[in-house]
């Protein structure tokens, strides 16, 4: 209890040092600078307000699209001293690079070159290679499992799902890549960020280099940049459990699914605490007491826009029925018995430590400054510390009731 009290004490030693500078930047973007001269590096990041929120389990392969669209090109000014790494989160995507302070100008020239998009014919080798790798990978039983479940949530005939489902497919021609690039760059809400050993004035100079190449005209947002309007659960799903068979696997997978929470939902702090307790209980029941599973996973409880929330349990096919009974009994116990104060306090400590790890580390400061989900972490830390046991219990009883979930079981196809 003493240790817990200490952990919960304010420990934001770096909060002031890492306060971000933010200013609007023409045309329509934002410059964020986290000046931190303790770090002998500069992290630069360009991010755009489009992500994989319409995808699930990386099915959309937006990261591949990114690398094809821009920074994989070998332009004449491409720097070999700075590697821009494409990344995709559920609601933003962009490029990040680490650089020595003296390499900043070269990095910006390189980034501008990427964004202007040079596609020499030779790069089509990579496109074919990506497609080949994807074709080979999709036969892996684990990928088949994921895709089979994803199809329950997203209509595979929906063009929004289909266009990018096969990287380098029919839709991914050079003109199509150019179109995506133009669409991306005309989005409002892009952010250029610098963190580390760089002055604000220097960052402003570098940002001006970038601003010159970004289009001023605002195009209408393409479908993949609009808020997620995909159905969270397919209309085909009813209350009855769904069973899917997948080839060449030795493992079964049980999934409990329902809609998750959007970030602005006031129940988010209670949800984070309740889920932490529920996952710990399930781990105890399934792994520690029964030895039935190696991994218990969950995904999508809180996202920028509502997404499917899933609890996933892999196991031996012969123990599926037993596992269903165990999980549903545990969920029912949450609904009937609630949660204990000790359990919730431990969840508070765990969440506090995780959020502190994210927002104290200088390397994460920029992410915090530009990412709406991460930016709430300080606020969430406070809310998770103060939300009452009653509120957490009320949420847990209602949300985790087993009848609120759709159950999907993915089984090996008999040979």
């Amino acid at each position: 209890m003493v240790a817990l009290a200490v952990v919960l004490a304010p420990a934001d030693a770096f909060a002031d040092a890492l306060a971000p500078h933010s200013e609007p930047l023409e045309p329509g973007g934002r410059l964020v600078v986290v000046e931190d001269h303790r770090v002998p590096l500069v992290r630069v990041e360009l991010s755009l307000p489009v992500g994989s929120s319409a995808a699930w389990w990386q099915d959309l392969h937006l990261d591949t699209v990114w690398s094809l669209v821009a920074c994989n090109a070998e332009g004449p000014e491409r720097s070999d001293l700075v590697d821009f790494v494409p990344w995709v989160r559920d609601h933003r995507a962009g490029w990040t690079a680490l650089m020595m302070p003296g390499d900043a100008e070269e990095a910006m020239v390189s980034l501008v070159d990427c964004l202007q998009g040079v596609f020499p014919a030779g790069r089509f080798w990579d496109k074919a290679a990506q497609r080949n790798a994807w074709d080979a990978g999709r036969h892996s039983p684990s990928v088949q499992q994921s895709r089979a479940v994803a199809r329950l949530f997203f209509d595979p005939d929906d063009v929004r799902y289909g266009v990018t489902r096969r990287p380098g497919g029919v839709a991914m021609t050079a003109p199509r890549m150019a179109e995506i690039r133009e669409g991306l760059l005309s989005l409002d809400g892009w952010t250029l960020g610098f963190a580390g050993d760089i002055e604000i004035e220097r960052a402003q100079e570098l940002a001006a280099m970038l601003a010159r190449v970004l289009p001023h005209r605002r195009a209408q947002d393409p479908w993949w940049a609009q808020p997620d309007t995909l159905p969270l659960l397919s209309p085909a799903l009813g209350a009855a459990p769904v069973s899917i068979e997948v080839e060449a696997t030795m493992e079964a997978l049980l999934v409990w699914a329902r809609s998750g929470l959007s970030l602005d939902d006031e129940a988010v702090p209670a949800a984070l605490l309740a889920e932490t307790v529920v996952l710990r209980r399930l781990r105890r029941a399934l792994r520690d007491e029964r030895g039935d599973t190696y991994a218990l996973m969950s995904d999508g409880l809180v996202a920028l826009a509502p997404s499917p929330y899933t609890l996933r349990v892999p196991m031996a096919p012969e123990s599926v029925l037993e596992q269903v009974a165990v999980v549903e009994a545990e969920l029912a116990r949450v609904a009937t018995e609630g949660l204990s104060a000790d359990e919730v306090d431990r969840a508070r400590a765990l969440i506090h430590a995780g959020l502190q790890g994210a927002d104290d580390a200088p390397a994460e400061a920029l992410w915090l400054a530009v990412d709406p989900l991460a930016a709430r972490s300080l606020e969430l830390r406070g809310l998770c510390a103060t939300v009452s046991l009653t509120e957490v219990e009320r949420f847990a009883r209602a949300y985790f009731a087993p009848e609120r979930f759709v159950r999907v079981q993915v089984l090996p196809k008999p040979e």
Partner: protein
């Protein structure tokens, strides 16, 4: 029973710590480098347990890593899977900290714990906010000293381990291929068998074997405790001595023979009916990936270490895409080439794979290569199997892809990542425990070694690793 004395045999301490130097401690230390406020303390308890503490006030979290020098390569013929099983059972709980209480306490501290087993070692690691490290040290010492597994605990954990094996190998054809290839390449060498054992071996493990394995290998001489974070080193060292000083010394296991002693076949054919790809591979041996041994000249082995890192990074195409472009042009468009590197205490393997999906006609790949030829390719398409083109790509007569500029690019990339990684207490603690890094205060010195690597040193490695040795041809069907 070991006595309470400590012997600090090397390292640097924070200036503030000198005043707290405990009586009877022998210190050989140098002041910390001017550019860092971090301090490094290395010590050995009288029972042989090694301790490394990196005190870095810039860090916001603490990492506790315990590396036990026993892995799957030390298992006897009837012990396959034991090292990994013992790792799991270390979380089964003790009389003082039953499993549930152990996790409750960890959660209450905001700590995240896990462990992994490799061929040469088993590593337990925890990351937590400051101030909880004393409790974690107590919990770790308790489970090292009081490992007492009951039959029902073993049975439960057997189920967990079997499920882990199914997830690792039963779901991924390429993971199964990797196991088969390792066995074909390395034969009876202990590195040739899978780390977690196979299902039948795991099924056969009993409580007597588990207990005996722990007793034999979890002695203090075989344990390295590494702490990294905003820590006060000397008081912590005294606490560690109190908690760990009474552990039995035990023995270090005999290391497996060097991989270099193996006479690998020139050609291997492996297959898996679930694979949807045709693959060709080339495999070469690598020396161990460790920094200097005691007594070695540090600047020499530092440079050798970095030259090896640069050589492999060049092959991966990091920093410079020269070799990737070369491979794409020679091997053919649309054939993804991947590089797998595995290194252990007694050597390693580098494998280059070219992978082609069965369902796509070869002509499609050749078309990509011809397109490449039209825009300035070096070699024409000769219609050779991919395998020969891979050899040409890596072992061609010219070495123009290894030059000062390419090395500078890789060097810059490595330097950036080393500096960035210095903010991660767990990454630092794991690298120190694994023997691939010494400690925070020596980062600038290590980077000096990186700067000193010459093109001729990298070219020499290229000669030694790839040109002087033909490599093993692997055909996957």
């Amino acid at each position: 029973m070991p006595g309470p004395s400590l012997c600090i045999y090397a390292g640097t301490l924070l200036a503030a710590a000198w005043a707290q130097e405990p009586a009877g401690v022998v210190v050989h230390a140098a002041p910390p480098p001017a550019e860092t406020s971090a301090g490094l303390l290395e010590a050995e308890l009288s029972n042989g347990l090694r301790v490394t503490i990196v005190s870095d006030p810039m860090l916001t979290h603490e990492a506790v890593v315990i590396r036990v020098g026993v892995g799957s390569a030390h298992e006897a013929a009837d012990e396959h899977g034991l090292a990994h099983m013992v790792e799991h059972l270390m979380f089964a709980g003790t009389e003082r900290y039953p499993r549930e209480a152990w996790w409750d306490l960890q959660d209450g501290l905001g700590a995240t714990s896990n462990a992994f087993t490799r061929r040469d070692d088993t590593t337990y690691h925890t990351v937590l906010p400051p101030l909880g490290v004393g409790t974690v040290l107590e919990m770790e010492a308790d489970r090292l000293a009081n490992f007492d597994v009951q039959h029902e605990q073993l049975e439960r954990e057997r189920g967990v381990v079997l499920d882990e094996l199914r997830l690792r190998y039963g779901m991924e054809p390429h993971a199964r291929l990797g196991v088969r290839l390792q066995r074909e390449l390395l034969g009876e060498h202990p590195y040739g068998r899978p780390v977690g054992g196979e299902a039948a071996a795991v099924d056969a493990l009993d409580i007597a074997a588990v207990t005996a394995f722990h007793e034999r290998h979890y002695g203090a001489r075989n344990v390295h405790l590494v702490l990294v974070g905003p820590l006060a080193a000397v008081p912590l060292l005294l606490r560690i001595e109190a908690l760990y000083g009474a552990l039995p010394a035990g023995q270090r296991p005999t290391p497996p023979p060097p991989l270099a002693a193996i006479d690998m076949a020139r050609r291997i054919d492996v297959g898996d009916p679930t694979l949807r790809t045709r693959e060709n591979g080339l495999v070469w041996q690598l020396p161990p990936d460790r920094i200097c041994a005691e007594g070695e000249d540090r600047s020499d082995c530092d440079q050798a270490y970095w030259a090896g890192q640069i050589m492999l990074a060049l092959l991966r195409g990091e920093g410079s895409a020269t070799i990737q472009v070369r491979m794409a042009r020679i091997i053919g468009g649309g054939v993804p080439v991947t590089l797998d590197v595995w290194r252990s205490d007694q050597g390693g393997l580098v494998t280059l794979y070219a992978r082609r999906h069965r369902g796509v006609p070869l002509a499609m790949y050749q078309f990509g290569a011809i397109m490449g030829a039209l825009v300035g390719v070096v070699l024409p398409i000769k219609g050779q199997p991919t395998f020969y083109r891979m050899e040409t790509a890596v072992r061609g007569a010219d070495t123009d892809w290894i030059d000062e500029q390419a090395i500078d690019e890789v060097r810059a990339s490595v330097r950036r990542h080393e500096l960035a990684r210095s903010w991660d207490p767990l990454a630092r603690a794991l690298a120190i425990a694994a023997g691939t890094e010494r400690g925070a205060t020596e980062l600038s010195e290590r980077l000096d070694g990186l700067e000193a690597v010459s093109a001729s040193a990298v070219l020499q490695l290229y000669q030694d690793w790839f040109l002087d040795v033909p490599g093993v041809r692997v055909h996957v069907r």
